[in-house]
């Protein structure tokens, strides 16, 4: 009869690494996306103001 070893700590470490990478990357992406979208909207609103003042 074979006894199954207790390998739960390795399983925990493996999935911790997987989720740290995935969540970290997603956080980084959404942060960069929000920043760049904010910069674009500021630029666009400045452009509209300049156009209005020209008129």
């Amino acid at each position: 009869m074979t006894t199954t070893p207790d390998t739960f700590p390795s399983l925990f470490a493996g999935y911790a690494v997987i989720w740290i990478f995935i969540v970290g990357y997603l956080f980084l992406l959404t942060h960069r996306l929000n920043k760049i979208e904010r910069a674009i909207s500021v630029k666009m609103s400045k452009g509209t103001e300049t156009d209005d003042s020209k008129k």
Partner: protein
């Protein structure tokens, strides 16, 4: 201007990935029985192999967009190439690290110089160079070099795939589970397929999300 199909792909893959990853996690942790020899750690297999398939998919996209960029010089393909290479590198890192943790538990060693592990490390190193080039060499000046590097890197994927056949199975530790029909329990097969599809959908979503940032950055660069 971001094409309409790109936005649609991003939305559909985002929803599909969220649902499928949740189902995959439920299957892996709640449904699949413990493997008898390795115990609980065998559950790393599903995300380890799924992430490898996701990485291969991303590298496939990097290869095609790399060629298309060199032919057309379109910033659209450049953004996609940058995104696919970066996402592929992330998934490659996940595969390497989760594999090392699993190997330490199952083989009592973190790494072994055998064909599959060495070729995969080589793939990871090429895309590490790609990410460093993209990050530090400037957006537009490095595009052609990065595209060529991504083509070279992606060309090593078949080598990684076939590497386990270079030596007899008895002389290497890395198993050929899928090729040799090693998944005996039907739930192992279901969990494996669901996880692989989930991580491929997740890869598509990440590439779409990352390439949107690239489009915006290039649009700002051209306006200035």
């Amino acid at each position: 201007m971001i094409p309409h199909w790109h936005t649609t792909t991003e939305r559909i893959s985002g929803v599909a990935a969220t649902i499928l990853v949740a189902v995959a996690l439920w299957l892996v942790f709640m449904k699949v029985p413990n493997e008898q020899v390795m115990g609980a750690v065998q559950r790393i297999f599903y995300f380890h192999v799924g992430a490898a398939f996701g990485a291969y998919l991303a590298f496939g996209v990097a290869f095609i967009t790399g060629v298309l960029f060199l032919v057309s010089k379109s910033p659209f393909y450049d953004s996609l190439n940058e995104a696919a290479g970066e996402v592929g590198f992330l998934l490659c890192s996940i595969v390497l690290l989760s594999g090392m943790i699993w190997a330490h538990s199952a083989w009592n060693t973190w790494f072994r110089w055998e064909p599959r592990l060495v070729t995969f490390l080589l793939l990871w190193l090429i895309f590490l160079a790609f990410v460093l080039l993209r990050t530090y060499a400037g957006k537009e000046s490095s595009s052609a070099q990065a595209a060529i590097l991504s083509i070279i890197g992606s060309s090593t994927v078949p080598l990684v795939w076939l590497s386990v056949k270079l030596l007899p199975q008895a002389s290497q530790l890395h198993p050929q589970v899928v090729e040799q029909q090693g998944l005996r329990h039907p739930l192992f097969v279901v969990a494996f397929l669901v996880t692989t599809v989930a991580l491929c959908a997740f890869t598509i979503w990440l590439v779409a999300l990352r390439s949107r940032i690239g489009f915006y950055e290039r649009a700002i660069l051209h306006q200035e």
